[in-house]
């Protein structure tokens, strides 16, 4: 049981870290670019939000399989297969949770407006300097909700994992899958412990996020 908890937290943590790195430039581009086709990219990024996880998982399984467009080059370069591995789950979770990081961060960047960036430019800050010392700190609430939502969403992931990872203890058997197994085998006590724990954990996370966001807003208003 502890194994599943640890694996879930590890998956959610790694996914969140990767998304912080991947989603930030993407969100910045979506917020600032004047390109006409950026909303096309925006729609693609939002897709995992509305697709049934099984659909997403199905296509991911095909793409990651040893003769799929992602799986084949990976196997040639690293000699590993991706489905039914932790790495495969991370790739799936990153795509599945992408909109949960990109949307709030993009909204925060858009809410900045031009002014603070222009002010920084007239104060000798280069575009990169402006991004680091003005845009990132001012977009903090967006990063906070993006982080919390991504983490929580990955913890609660089920369909994609079932399609992509199966049920290998210590490798792909995360909390949601473990709960499903317990219920299938009528082990309601174990299912209660895990499910109740997730309810409490999720509530604590959302509550913490809201409180710290309010405090930040009070500070910068």
């Amino acid at each position: 049981m502890a194994e599943a908890v640890f694996l879930t937290l590890k998956l959610a943590g790694v996914t969140t870290l990767i998304l912080l790195v991947v989603a930030t430039p993407l969100a910045w581009w979506l917020a600032r670019s004047k390109a006409k086709w950026k909303e096309f990219v925006g729609a693609v990024v939002t897709l995992p939000l509305v697709l049934p996880p099984t659909v997403l998982g199905f296509y991911l399984l095909l793409a990651l399989s040893p003769d799929g467009p992602i799986g084949a080059p990976v196997q040639r370069l690293f000699g590993t297969t991706l489905p039914f591995t932790f790495t495969g789950l991370v790739i799936g979770s990153v795509i599945y949770s992408l909109p949960f990081m990109v949307q709030p961060v993009r909204n925060a960047f858009e809410a900045l407006g031009e002014r603070p960036l222009e002010v920084a430019a007239t104060l000798r800050a280069s575009p990169w300097d402006t991004f680091v010392s003005v845009a990132l700190p001012l977009a903090r609430p967006g990063f906070l909700s993006g982080t919390v939502l991504t983490f929580a969403h990955t913890v609660g992931e089920f369909g994609v994992i079932l399609m992509l990872g199966g049920n290998i203890p210590g490798e792909t058997k995360v909390l949601s899958v473990a709960i499903y197994d317990h219920v299938e085998s009528l082990e309601y006590a174990e299912a209660h412990i895990l499910s109740g724990g997730m309810v409490v954990g999720a509530f604590a996370l959302i509550w913490l996020m809201t409180v710290s966001q309010k405090r930040w807003e009070a500070r910068i208003r």
Partner: protein, 398 residues
Amino acid sequence: MSPPKPNPPESPPARKAPIGLDAFFEGPIGDFQLAANFHVPASGVTALFGPSGCGKTTVLRCLAGLERVAGGSLRFDRQVWQYGPHFVPPHKRPIGYVFQEASLFPHLSVRENLLFGAKRAAKATKKADQNGTNAVAFDELVDLLGIAAMLGRPPDKLSGGERQRVAIGRALLSQPELLLMDEPLSALDRFNKDEILPYLERLHARLSIPVVYVSHDLAEVERLADHMILMEQGRVRAAGPVATLLSDLSLPFAATRDAATVLDARILGFDAVYGLTELEVPGGVLSVPGNLGGVGQVRRVQIGASDVSLTRTREPASTITNILPVSIADMRAVDFGQLNVVLELAGGAQRVLARVTRKSWDRLNFQPGEQVYAQIKSLAMVGGVYEAADVSPEASTA
């Protein structure tokens, strides 16, 4: 063996005199058509003046590099900022920019806001002793702007006027060679405006760098500016010293109901018995109620056109004591009953306007070129008093 290199000269070459700024902005920006070519002198405050929507803020943003007119060109002193495909981005231009709203960074304290540009400017110039010299400038500026007490506070705990003073300080601490101000007072209420104007006047007296000041408020321009660029629908209608433009009968200023001109005058002394300050102007002395400052300082006085009347003889028996010999330079009708008369003070460099009725003009039969006397009600000169740019720092603290 190469011959020994000659020693570099001991003293650095003499600094070349600054030459100001030249801008040629012709072309579309969005759906706005700009055709503004102008020169900004190397010192003093130049007002970009015009009605809202005339493009003055756009021009200022082009000077900063925040907007770009394709095909425009811009030179500041000996640096080319824009020419053809060459375009220096805003963060590489040595400018300070004060926006209409203070726009302080909400996540930084007042002190951190003030130092934001200062740190980066120091890094850019890589001066070894920058810390020492900056410290002096910082303390001095904080004193001058009256913001010493609020350094540790977050910006949202400041009043509108305080915030704008911090924004001005922040721009100045980035060690600019050109200060651009976009209606820094327009977002403030009357009370905050009155609070901040004295600070701007003090800055005006101290700053050695040129300032471009966007405004649609003529009173502000008369009070602060030395030069004026009058804009209309994206074009420059007229440019020159403020006093010259104000008394130019072909421009709209002279025709307004409260038309006025400004004179820069030197303080001769204070008459303690009657409480009057005596100011020297070409051709005579004006006395103004109140003690306006130390001997030798320069004050700007504003003279409303309708407060000036004309006589052929000096009338000793009158309550009007400010009488100057002038010559009539020009005349033009304002409406059917009233005329504007341009009067040249002795020496010909300074001018005042007089608003007279056509009836008196005809009755007294004045002619252009004639030597007459201008009678000025002394009370008209209390407003618009300021410390002019050539006051030394010692004198201005008196």
